[in-house]
């Protein structure tokens, strides 16, 4: 047993690490049961896969919902009898009912924002990459890590169950603004479904917090020898700031949600005041619905970056590896991540320009919002200069990373439009906003996630995914994303409002019928191509081409020094020591120099 034996003075409590080296000790007579290996696993790599696969299941459900409501928007006059067979009263006469439409949109938003792009994205890659890239056997507390997944699982079950209750799931939008969400009598979706939603989200928040605590603690405390903070790969920096954002903003959402639960079930008036529903005057007085929006968006805005930052980090790493060049401006990249994380907490009111916010106050939020353009632009220029004159290898991961940069630019530019309160007042309730946040947050982060999956798949399963299917997946997704969302910018500028179920009744929006049909058609094609990815993913787990070399991409980071299929504990012997940063590509005429290689005397300085 050659593991570094540095006693900490507190032995037994570090059961985490005791578990970590367990495998090293007893390699020959240690067998994990099915349950402890695949179900209640404490191995960060298995937990990452659990997050990923659960996230993928959710992505299919959430994506399918968008196909259903796009069906309504694209073909408002047609009826699809099969929908009635499947959904009964929700699609009476083969047409999606208004209640059903709102439920679909709400669930689409909730699922994609929280379950796929938060849990599925940072849950997967923070778990998988943090210990492997910083050189740790496992997380600071594998137990909390396991609990984090199982709270997510519980949240998933509750949210899934809410779709099968008689009054349907929550349908007040993923932002669940009161008073609509607080009053059961106001809509079907504000009845039991809303309570399920709130309880599910409370479980989800617990899961995120347990995960986030662990990520922060692991990154700061468990780095291997020589792995200073400035030698960390950018993926880890990004995941670190993501975790900090989550730990500081999710509790605020929880407090907002708890007050909402009080209003719903205990008859308090935090958010309710002087309301008449269906002719009935409610006794509630003195509440403020805007208060909820402040609490919600104090999380809601950082949440956008919780979704985006892991993608930023992974893209930086993948672009550098596949350009065979060091990342341009490493410290500027870290600094801009830091700036984005700080600014994320100072801009929430730009979601509320149309709530009657004091325009004087709005001006500060405009300024702070537009400031985000600075770190974002730094990142974009650094990616472009990383690509510049590189020896580009167009692996599927690289394509998705480049696609991410493209989407981040196009989606970011429209953010400058919306950040200005004067323009936002016109655009806020139109499709322009839908187009903006789908491109910059939704599709871009999805692309980051795909890039990550394609890039680290060999490390996850010891096999490659099929390249041909991956290229089809990429090109259809990229072209499709632009074909879906570019027309929406135009529709939004022309004043087409969001949240309408049917535009054919409106003289002013009738002329968008053709365009809506086009968007819906593309959306369906793109959805089908995502199924190709799912097929590729599962097929390759068992049938993919086997990885034969430890370091298939010629990358510098530590995960590629571990065995092709690392066991629990990651490295069979000692944890490698780190001597340099992660981006020595093409240095002194050498293609790459791994982080574990000591700096020689003849080497040139950075």
């Amino acid at each position: 047993m050659s593991i570094t034996t540095v006693s900490t003075g507190h032995e037994s409590e570090v059961s985490t690490s005791a578990h970590g080296h367990h495998e090293g000790h007893h390699e020959h007579h240690h067998e994990e049961s099915f349950i402890s290996k695949y179900v209640f696993s404490q191995d960060h790599k298995m937990i990452a896969k659990q997050f990923l696969i659960t996230g993928m299941i959710w992505a299919v459900i959430g994506g399918l919902f968008s196909v259903l409501f796009r069906l309504q928007l694209g073909y408002p006059e047609m009826s699809f009898p099969i929908l009635e067979d499947l959904f009964g009263k929700w699609a009476a006469g083969g047409r999606i009912s208004n209640e059903f439409y709102y439920a679909l949109v709400t669930m689409h938003g909730t699922i994609l924002v929280f379950f796929v792009l938060t849990a599925g994205l940072s849950g997967t890659f923070a778990n998988f990459l943090i210990p492997l890239q910083i050189g740790a056997r496992d997380m600071a507390s594998p137990m909390l890590n396991m609990l984090s997944y199982w709270f997510f699982f519980l949240a998933s079950i509750i949210m899934f169950a809410s779709m099968f209750i008689q009054t349907g799931p929550a349908s007040g939008g993923w932002t669940i603004y009161p008073p609509l969400s607080a009053l059961g009598q106001a809509s079907e979706g504000s009845k039991l479904g809303m309570d399920y939603w709130l309880v599910s989200m409370a479980m989800f928040i617990v899961s995120s917090l347990l995960g986030g605590l662990n990520y922060i603690s692991t990154i700061l405390n468990m780095r291997t020898k020589g792995m200073t903070m400035t030698r960390l790969p950018l993926t880890i920096w990004a995941l670190f700031f993501t975790a900090v954002l989550g730990v500081l903003s999710f509790p605020v959402l929880l407090s907002g949600a708890i007050l909402l639960l009080f209003d719903r079930n205990l008859g308090t008036s935090f958010y309710l005041s002087e309301i008449v529903v269906k002719g009935e005057i409610l006794p509630n007085e003195g509440g403020s619905a805007i208060l909820f929006q402040h609490l919600f968006w104090f999380l809601g805005h950082p949440e956008v970056y919780i979704i985006l930052l892991p993608a930023l980090g992974m893209v930086s790493e993948i672009l550098s590896v596949n350009s065979r060049k060091p990342i341009f401006g490493y410290l500027a990249m870290v600094g801009s991540l830091f700036a984005i994380a700080i600014l994320a907490f100072l801009v929430w009111a730009h979601h509320m320009f149309v709530t009657g916010l004091n325009p004087f106050l709005g001006a500060f939020f405009v300024l702070l919002t537009l400031l985000i353009a600075v770190p974002s632009a730094i990142k974009v220029f650094n990616w472009l200069t990383t690509l510049w004159r590189g020896n580009l290898r167009f692996t599927p991961a690289m394509l998705f990373a480049i696609g991410f940069v493209s989407l981040f630019i196009s989606g970011g530019l429209t953010g400058i439009f919306l950040g200005n309160s004067t323009l936002d007042i016109h655009l806020h309730d139109t499709y322009f906003v839908v187009a903006h946040f789908h491109i910059v947050m939704g599709v871009a982060s999805m692309f980051g996630m795909f890039a990550g999956v394609y890039h680290w798949y060999p490390k996850m399963y010891g096999r490659y995914m099929n390249n041909t299917l991956a290229y089809i997946h990429f090109w259809v997704s990229l072209v499709g994303a632009y074909l879906i969302f570019w027309p929406m910018h135009y529709q939004g500028l022309a004043g087409m409002p969001r949240r309408y179920t049917d535009f054919s009744n409106w003289e002013s929006f009738k002329n968008f019928g053709e365009m809506n049909r086009f968007i819906s058609t593309v959306a369906m094609i793109v959805f089908v191509v995502q199924l190709l990815f799912i097929f590729n993913f599962f097929y390759s787990i068992w049938k993919g081409r086997k990885v034969t070399s430890q370091n298939p991409w010629g990358a510098n980071t530590l995960e590629w020094t571990a065995p092709i299929r690392p066991g629990h504990g990651n490295w069979p012997g000692e944890i490698p020591e780190v001597h340099r940063w992660a981006y020595d590509y093409g240095k002194d005429g050498r293609d790459f120099i791994a982080q574990t290689e000591p700096i020689s005397d003849s080497e040139s300085k950075h």
Partner: protein
């Protein structure tokens, strides 16, 4: 026994560090709630809240429990296990007394003809219930953890040398204590 981390001796234990991050997270939650309270206070329909005397007595109780858990850990480190155990029992009792007093405090509002929930309730008082109630849940969490440590300390068959769990719970306990003092002063000044 080997540990696999390359932890230096002077570095903070990862689990202790995790607790500090968690404390930051809990602070954010209560910061959110008390900011909501401040925002609400500046709007129409706010009433001056009354704080029953019992809440001040419970404040003294939880303060006292912080003292007892502090000395408990001190005695554990000196291996005075009997005193350690006794002080844990004292802390547990004081913690539970605190919770009981909080619940009785909420009930006292009923005698004062003030409604915390339901029709006719005012958000000013509902806030007290929501915020102090959530704080109570955090104390309850501490009590459960403390009960577990006490159980381990009472277990004759296994000797416990590891001070980290007790230290972590003590830190958490001090935190919920300080949090309550902040809350009661906040309620008192921000009426």
């Amino acid at each position: 026994m080997a540990t696999v981390m390359n932890v230096q001796r002077d570095k903070i234990h990862p689990h202790k560090f995790t607790l500090w991050v968690a404390i930051g997270s809990i602070i954010m939650m209560f910061a959110g709630l008390t900011s909501a309270y401040i925002v609400k206070r500046s709007q129409a329909g706010w009433v001056m809240v009354e704080i029953p005397l019992l809440f001040w007595i419970s404040t003294a109780t939880i303060l006292l429990s912080s003292v007892s858990i502090h000395f408990a850990v001190q005695h554990f480190k000196k291996r005075n296990l009997e005193t350690y155990k006794k002080l844990l029992y004292v802390t547990l009792a004081l913690g539970m007394a605190f919770l009981v007093m909080q619940v009785l405090g909420f009930n006292m509002y009923r005698d004062m003809d003030i409604r915390l929930t339901g029709a006719g309730s005012n958000a000013s008082y509902s806030f007290i219930l929501a915020i102090a109630g959530l704080h109570g849940l955090h104390v309850l969490g501490g009590i459960i953890a403390l009960a577990w440590v006490t159980f381990k300390a009472s277990n004759q068959s296994r000797r416990e040398y590891n001070t980290v769990p007790a230290e972590i719970i003590a830190t958490y306990w001090h935190f919920v204590d300080v949090l309550w003092i902040y809350l009661i002063l906040f309620f008192n000044w921000m009426r």
